[in-house]
Amino acid sequence: MNFDPRFSGRQFKSVGTRPIRPDGVDKVTGRARYGADFSMAGQLVGRVLRSPHAHARIRGIDTSKAEQLPGVKAVITAADLPDLTNGDAAMFDILDNCMARTKALYDGHAVAAVAAVDARTARQALKLIEVDYEILPHVTDVDEAMQHGAPLINDAIFTEGLEEKPVKPSNVSKRTQYGHGDVHEGFGQADFIVERSFKTEQTHQGYIEPHACVANVSSDGTADLWVCTQGHFVYRQHCAQLLGMEASKLRVTSSEIGGGFGGKTHVWAEPVALALSRKAGRPVKLVMTRDEVFRASGPTSATSIDVKIGARKDGTITAAEATLRYTSGPYAGMWAEIGAMTAFACYRLDNVKTVGYEVLVNRPKTAAYRAPSAPMAAFAVESAVDELAKELGMDAVEFRIKNAAQEGTRSSYGPVYGPIGIGPTLEAAKDHPHMKAPLGKNQGRGMACGFWFNFGGQTCTDLNIGMDGSVSLAVGTVDVGGSRASLSLVAAEELGIDYSQVKAIVADTSSLGYNDMTDGSRGTFSSSMATISAARNAIKILRERAAQTWDIPVDDVVWEKGHAIARGEKYGNLAALSLKEIAAASGKTGGPIAGHSELVADGAGVSFATHICDIEVDPETGSTRVIRYTVVQDAGKAVHPTYVEGQYQGGAAQGIGWALNEEYIYGKDGRLQNAGFLDYRIPVCSDLPMIDTQILEIPNPNHPYGVRGVGETSIVPPLAAIANAVSNAAGVRMTHIPMSPPRILAAIEAEREG
């Protein structure tokens, strides 16, 4: 049956309510099983040996002593993970990142691994592996890596996207450009121009659960993998390709996931665990330590961004331009490109140009982190927008409202917008009591806007109706923050039954068709679309069964409030049949009743947010305190408003950490100096105030209920909002994130000295 995904204004019964999540009790009683909570009989402990050098050629690895240690069952190096990528450069990078081949490219790069009977033996075995390194010059800073004469990280990389094909390899893997109009002409029309350079440091997603998996490879070529991941189907594809397996012979089960934020969309340890299990002939459990999580997984890009914006006296922006340089770790990336696409997406611009450079450095391979690349671009742009408003003598909110993108605006990255929420979030922020609250001494208020594309993608869902009338919903998008609750609400809504009758699970890769990962804020958006489609397919069968029971044409049967109803006066005597009654009779009317759906969830509605915050700065120490924080964001339709609020609050808190404190600190030797939660300090409970939220609902026309993704946009505005607040409080423009006390103090002192 053709599925019509278009929005239809409907009165909701279940959607929009706030029931308790189906996986809740297990999570408050300690019974929920996360990556490291699963074990198999006879399992070995896997451990990974990592390079202590930022950049080194591997001349040889001697594993013989480790192999001879009693209790060691397998030792592997890159030789045990041969290159089967067949010219697929992106997959080769994933393989090389899982296990270094000819060179170690960052402090923490895996070079060998062991499987042993217990953790202590595995640790001892690592110490017995001898790696002969030839240390090479390294570079970790984004601007230094672009300079002439910088140590070359990969001599096979020639900059793409230049007019002339380069003849020499480079640390810049790609140049990209977006925009329209003529910025030169636009700046010529400007009365005021602000031009600034900004830097942001590298941060980690900081999920509390380290990567963990249990791999079990059988000698018949089949395998099972239990793993914490945001996308078990993608992990299956990647692992199968790297191990030379058929995908259908590798069953991947996603555990409960202890946070991901984009960081669990990439394989690191999983192919290694599978290779160890294959060699040892036993199950292998591999759990990263926190030190490994920081040194080898995760991080977002460090950036260097130049912004130039011009406006007329009346407040109209005439031109906007940005150059964005993003680190991608030691491999080719596409992070600056995303930054270049998002930088000016909030605004209606006649002349706009953004250029992105992907920069290789000796740091871990950059991974997605919640709206990847957008927060840094927003920091630079929204800081400059604030400064320009000041020069114009305009209120920061009014200036943004005047230039905000609208329905029909051609976005800076190309597409023309449909109905969007940037204007409404700004109007709501303007009217919010927070904007009018008085400020104390040394306090400043800042606000900023943010944009994220959102994503749809491939989605497959099964909805099975039990003979007792209860409904099991099997989805393939990993639940990272309450989506089993929201998808159960959607199934209940569509079928017209109670939420308590629906039980949602995340199915493994052998039980359901392919699903893209839970990324791009797609979990609830795409799986709710697939759930609605599956429910409608089930309703078609329910109607058929009722028609069969009544012996009337199916076209005369409608589905309302969980019941089949015979339509028409001639059927006046027929009592409505409930879903439960039809299900109970299913054995005699044609067998099990189910609805299946496979679709590409196109039409993810773009998302906008406006944040307001108040910060107090201690001018003596440069320390800061967040006094008040407000998030206004468009959700399209909040399926479970409490979890939508949670996404808003969580993104804001991560942004606060990024803005004020979090950063990777590398020594001159290229080694990470703060690979732990003590020295890489994420916000704790006493650092934050309550985080106020306001949900706007501007329906997405391309979803039956109007849903937009909500997970990522909330991390986009905080860097800029806080930078604007700190700048207002301290009286000096902050251009380097994080705004740690030493940086703020230095900025204040530099301003005093003039």
Partner: protein, 158 residues
């Protein structure tokens, strides 16, 4: 290396186990006794996901040796509910959606239980500082603080 014989009380039940001298209480709970409610987020006492109550004192079980549990009393998240009756804190965490991924939840529940045992009527600031040893990356703490406030109100009235 010879194992150390330990006899201890966990959630009111007597447990006897052998552990290595360098093995943490967290590893014993998780790997030897199958009590995987306490989580290892860092192994260095920075995240609080492994929080347990040891003789009425809140500790990170990753910083306690398994051998140190000899003759002592340990409370873990698995002991909070009475049969199928959830502890008030567990119920309030559900009602307030004070968890998203839930990995930090056992540690927060134990830390909050310890906090309310010592201070049944905490201010917001006291809750925030009382739970500052537990990291949550998902929620921004707002709903956790509200859940603890609500639980404290209910428990006072009980």
């Amino acid at each position: 290396m010879a194992g150390v014989a330990v006899s201890t009380t966990i959630n009111g039940d007597n447990y006897e186990y052998l552990c290595q001298p360098d093995e943490t209480l967290l590893d014993v709970l998780r790997d030897r006794l199958g009590l995987t409610g306490a989580k290892e987020g860092c192994g260095t006492g920075d995240c609080g996901a492994c929080s347990v109550i040891l003789d009425n004192r809140l500790v990170c079980s990753c910083l306690v040796l398994g051998a140190e549990a000899e003759g002592r009393t340990i409370e873990t998240v698995e002991g909070m509910a009475q049969g199928d009756q959830l502890h008030t804190l567990q119920q309030k965490f559900l009602e307030h959606a004070a968890l998203q991924c839930g990995i930090c939840t056992p540690g927060f529940l134990i830390a909050a239980k310890d906090l309310l045992a010592k201070n049944p009527d905490p201010s917001e600031e006291e809750i925030r500082f009382g739970l500052a040893g537990n990291l949550c990356r998902c929620t921004g703490y707002d709903k956790i603080v509200r859940a603890v406030q609500d639980a404290a109100t209910v428990m006072k009235g009980a």
